[in-house]
Point group: C2
Chain length 735, copies 2
């Protein structure tokens, strides 16, 4: 080995300055180890998926070798040249590191060395990135988050070639690249370093992995326990606080998959270097639970359920999901994840990926099942949660995701008791997600757009109750973060009658909300229906707005409306309302209002209980949007003015088919004939849904006691309603 | 056979009244024949696709047998119960007819008999359909067109069971079903019967097939030559006038596939019964050419290019396309159509389908190639045409379809010199198609919506020049129909430099238009660019509007604009402008304006030559649309006010990638640096496109002579431009 020749010359003083030296360890030691690299090398030819995955990395490495090295002075924001180039550079180094370990061809190691030495020339002279507008600016990138990702990748590359490098180059690289970057993270971005947040996780992972590779235990300790070593920040506190006991990640699914990657990578590295920590078992194996949970937080098309800031293009084929699937399979052997891995058509080139590839080569996969499931939120699992109800197989699954979590940190939305609906392969009642075009430079450099705050995270941008045109907690993050919704009950034990219920008492001062959503499969009715009951309870009068962000084409309504056909104005002035064009408004003389739309060749109808004081609004996103940053999606709003206590009872129903190819239209009519609000008060809500088929569905909810054993009995209009437990759903055929 | 027992009793007088008797012929005689049915029966087990196709029909037949017969009194419009039921009934009869012929199981024949006898009870008592609002009302349906389709199907069913029926039932059925229906078509809908139009074709096919089956030659003659036997109407005149010599159907692709079905079916029936007509060879085999042309009039996703009234869901998997593919293959053996048939996963259960299934069972298919091609319009091929330029393989093909046809009959749009652009599997610059929700009852009974006339067919609804906010020919169909655009040249001989050019001199009095569109593949540039040159020429001043109906999300512009962020009003009052919300308007101080949008993860930029008098408008479809009948799609309009002669020079450029899954964005910037209008007058147009890569594309068009041998030489600004033929495209690398 080269470094042996130089060992006597070099005084490795820096490590002594920054931490203690360690017993010389074997490299690589992070994700790959000497042993796993050898195992992969020897078995790769017999494992097609592993080989394919490696060849993809090797292709990146080979492309790197044949292209000109460029380490430009940082200048551009997201999407710009220097931004993309530094991203490319870490990918190339990472790929060459892996390629070197698997093939032992020195040309790959040389590349890593050359590039790291180039960075070693530049980094000591870098200040804060010139295009930075972030609260946590980076050096190589406009935000330090990207710098952390850069380190997480390049430290792995360095680890892979460590033993090949001579001591002098190691010293140069550590002194001028990795130590300054760690210093930068610990000192200059100290707030982020100690943050309980995905950004914090990437930071401690970068620093912790650096510490493990260069043998600086102080860095590792700070990564684990925070820069003050007080355990208020750092990796362990992050695990404690960010993950609920069942693995839900508090920022929501989009950042879940993003944060989970460094959590897993650092855990792997710790396992190889500090097995005594037994990090995989930490908090009852919560990382493994979280990796499994991640896949249950997708719809059957593989896209994540986009609560909070989310970019909807993200699906389970992305690299982060490959890491998660391989880790989760490797740890507990869940064979359904092998089916995901097969669909990903890729594995990590590490020991986890090796296990997955071996299992797939023996055809051990089982079809992945998307299940009805509840996840709690909060480190202790006591800060609300998410309830997901599903019906149907993958090719046509109705999926309702109901959110009653805590705020979700800086990427949280003010969307208490919102829900999303998916069906027939697509989103039907959407969560807008975030207003952002990731890495698209002309769109604010790919950052969150101003409309993310002014619209996307506001309550009215969601399928959630808005009181007096205001936003939950008046849009104050610190107050919202100090509160959370409460689960009331969740029951998916009967696939024909699944139901979830939650309460929110703090979002609006003086208004309590209680929402219950049931997914009910009826005899002889093709698709399940949803019953959505939202009770608002106050001692004073309010305006209650309940939006439904339907996707698709308006078909018809049961009520007349005035369409503002020759002039459009915004629906309101503040809190997101300024971004909605008021298209039309209507009222009805019937006891319910009905709206039907068409999406992806299927009809959907919302039927909602109404009175002559109910106003139906149609709106379109896009007002006060100078730079066309928002998507012009439509919205149907049920408005109840001047109400103290009011209960919205709605049925959402997929039905029929529009087949333009074969020119067949069937079932374009809703089957809901009437919705009756029998009673709704502090004790109970009783609703009746009368269908054109002659069936009546009676739903009873106990509003004051969710104990499953308590008996309820009420007499309303001379009729007795009796049930046991928090709810009952009964269907009678009157024919 | 049953009928032998009754033969002596029945006097088959009706046929004598309505036409001459014929030598008794063998049945079935229309599409299936005794021989082909026997061939199919004997070979079906060895031909998987034929078997599958038959089993699908048999399933319909079996379902029919196990369900309750219902022949309701006609009442509902499109999408309603009686409408859909009568459609179901003819499908069931048709299926049972085929099932009987292939299996010889009498239960199927019995079903056809029972149902036809039910119709025989009802039809003589029917007047005009009560919900009819059509100019050509039907009896069973709201428009007679559906009645014709009913007959075309049920006469085939009758033909299939003819020999099984006894003479008395035959008499009852013919007297009370088919003869009254034919009478109705010939007498009460005489105008339609003699129409040169797809509706006419369905009508004569219904009557002609009836004549062939019941042996009434008068019906056949009228079907062929019109009700007055003067050859001004009828099947042969329709072939003469509706199809151009190369097979383009004048109503455009959407009605092409619809009309072609009866054309083919009647041709098959005539071939079996009147071989002396040699109908397949008629007009130089134009029906076969037309069936082939139909597939070239689709994009690579299988959808038809939606010029004129078109419903965009229609793709080549639909039944009409199965009939066309099988016919076209059967006739000329084009093996590429076998690939289409394989994708359709279905064949006609007739001799054509048998041949296709046989060929597929021998793996004779070749990949279907979508080609650059020009189709002429008009019976003589001299009424303009359509020029389609394509580049790239199926998975990512850039396709530009330029329309310079005649009006296209009653479903024609006022869209002279419009074009559509497809790329990357989707429509990029759209043709709106028709405003219609086929068979969706709440949407005007599934008929064309009022907005079809007030918006969809107006000029401003297209990517076509609008003069003074008016519509071509002031929207007068009779004037538009008396005129047509003229092809100027079309050249796809060099795949790197494809070009098409056409002129329109009559759409606006006093304004001549000349549009040329080139698809150019440049060295080292991933995707081809389009150059679009539209020269308007007048002696008086006008406002010229050139809309581009882009699909996707606005990204950025090179110019500043004022966004009407707090109030939206319609762009105009008439001619479709009343349906466009004016979103924003801008101007530029540069010599070009640039607009970039994002669609399906690819960027697109239109760069257009501009001056300080150019106004850029952004608009959205949907104003003055009381019932939300229109899709709220966006539009970019380049407006030139107060101009007599003006030449729009634009470059349309697909570029880069937005990858939300992998979080990579590349190539989001346009490569067009500058567009120069060097010269544009009666003799020539010379434009230069300067690219950021250092390349310059010079395009020269001779405006007064399209002869390919003529030399052109002009000196402009001390530079010589010389070329031979109607155009030249040269690329110089200035680096």
């Amino acid at each position: 080995m080269k470094y042996l020749r130089l060992i006597s010359i070099v005084c490795f003083s820096l490590l002594l300055v920054n931490g203690q030296t360690q017993t010389p360890k074997s490299h690589p030691c992070l994700i790959l180890t000497k042993e796993s690299a050898a195992k992969i090398s020897s078995s790769i030819d017999n494992l097609p998926l592993l080989k394919k995955s490696f060849l993809k990395i090797k292709k990146t490495a080979d492309n790197a070798l044949s292209s000109k090295l460029d380490v430009p002075i940082p200048k551009d924001e997201g999407g710009g040249y220097t931004h993309e180039r530094h991203k490319l550079n870490y990918s190339q180094m990472y790929a060459c590191g892996i390629a070197y370990q698997i093939t032992k061809d020195e040309k790959y190691a040389k590349f890593v060395k050359s590039m790291l030495l180039r960075y070693a020339e530049m980094i000591p002279n870098l200040g804060i990135h010139p295009a930075s507008k972030s609260s946590s600016p980076g050096k190589l990138f406009w935000q330090s988050l990207n710098d952390c990702v850069w380190v997480v990748n390049s430290i792995q590359a360095y680890d892979c070639v460590y033993e090949w490098l001579d001591r002098k180059d190691r010293e140069t690289i550590e002194k001028n690249v990795f130590i300054p970057m760690s210093d930068f993270f610990i000192v200059q971005t100290a707030k982020t370093f100690n943050l309980i947040h995905n950004h914090g996780t990437w930071t401690v992972t970068a620093v912790g992995m650096t510490g493990l590779v260069i043998g600086n235990d102080e860095l590792v300790e700070k990564a684990l326990k925070g820069s003050n070593l007080d355990s208020k920040g750092g990796y362990l506190a992050q695990i404690n606080e960010l993950f609920s006991p069942d693995g839900y990640y508090t920022e929501g699914p989009y950042y879940h998959r993003y944060a989970l990657m460094p959590f897993i990578l650092f855990a792997e590295a710790l396992t190889h270097n500090k097995p005594e920590l037994n990090i995989f078992a930490y908090k009852d194996s919560v990382l493994q639970k979280s990796a499994n949970a991640l896949f249950q937080l997708t719809y059957t098309d593989g896209r994540i359920i986009p609560f909070n800031d989310a970019i909807k293009d993200k699906n389970f084929l992305a690299d982060e999901f490959v890491v998660a699937a391989d880790f989760a399979y490797s740890f507990k052997g869940n064979r359904e994840l092998l089916a995901i891995a097969a669909e990903q058509n890729s594995v990590s080139v590490d020991e986890n990926g090796l296990r997955v590839a071996e299992a797939l080569s023996k055809n051990q996969e089982q079809p992945f099942k998307w299940r009805s499931v509840e996840f709690t939120d909060g480190g202790d699992g006591k800060k609300g949660g998410i309830g997901i109800l599903r019906s149907g197989e993958r090719n046509d699954q109705l999926c309702m995701a109901f959110k009653y979590t805590s705020h979700g940190l800086s990427h949280g939305h003010y969307d208490k008791l919102t829900f999303s609906l998916f069906d027939n392969g697509v989103e039907v009642l959407q969560d807008y997600g975030s207003a952002r075009f990731l890495n698209v430079e002309p769109k604010s450099g790919g950052r969150y757009l101003p409309e993310n705050k002014s619209f996307a995270l506001q309550t009215v941008a969601h399928n959630a109750l808005v009181v007096d045109e205001k936003t939950d907690f008046n849009g104050k993050e610190e107050i919202s973060s100090a509160n959370h919704s409460d689960r009331y009950f969740f029951d998916c034990s009967n696939p024909q009658k699944q139901i979830v219920s939650a309460k929110e008492n703090n979002a609006y001062v003086g208004v309590k909300m209680h929402r219950t959503i049931a997914m009910i499969t009826l005899p002889n009715i093709e698709k399940p229906i949803l019953i959505d009951i939202l009770r608002a309870n106050s001692e004073t009068k309010h305006q209650y707005d309940l939006p439904f962000y339907f996707l698709g084409q308006f078909i018809t309504t049961s009520f007349d409306f005035k369409n503002n056909t020759s002039q459009r104005k915004p629906l309101g002035r503040l809190n997101g309302y300024q971004h909605l064009w008021l298209e039309a408004s209507g009222t009805t003389k019937q006891t319910q209002g009905k709206f039907t739309w068409l999406l992806n060749n299927r009809f959907y109808t919302i039927t909602t209980a109404a009175s002559d004081s109910t106003i139906f609004l149609f709106a379109q996103i896009g007002a006060n949007d100078q730079n066309f940053n928002l998507k012009n999606d439509p919205c149907f709003i049920v408005r109840q003015k001047g109400s103290d206590n009011y209960t919205f009872i709605s049925v959402i129903e997929p039905h029929g088919e529009y087949n333009g190819k074969d020119e067949i239209t069937i079932g374009s009519d809703s089957i809901v004939k009437e919705i009756k609000n029998i009673a709704s008060d502090g004790e109970k809500t009783i609703g009746e849904i009368i269908l054109t088929s002659g069936q009546t569905v009676t739903i009873c909810i106990s509003n004051d006691n969710s104990d499953i054993k308590v008996k309820h009995s009420y007499k309303v209009n001379d009729k007795n309603y009796q049930w046991v437990g928090p709810y009952s759903i009964e269907t009678i055929d009157n024919k």
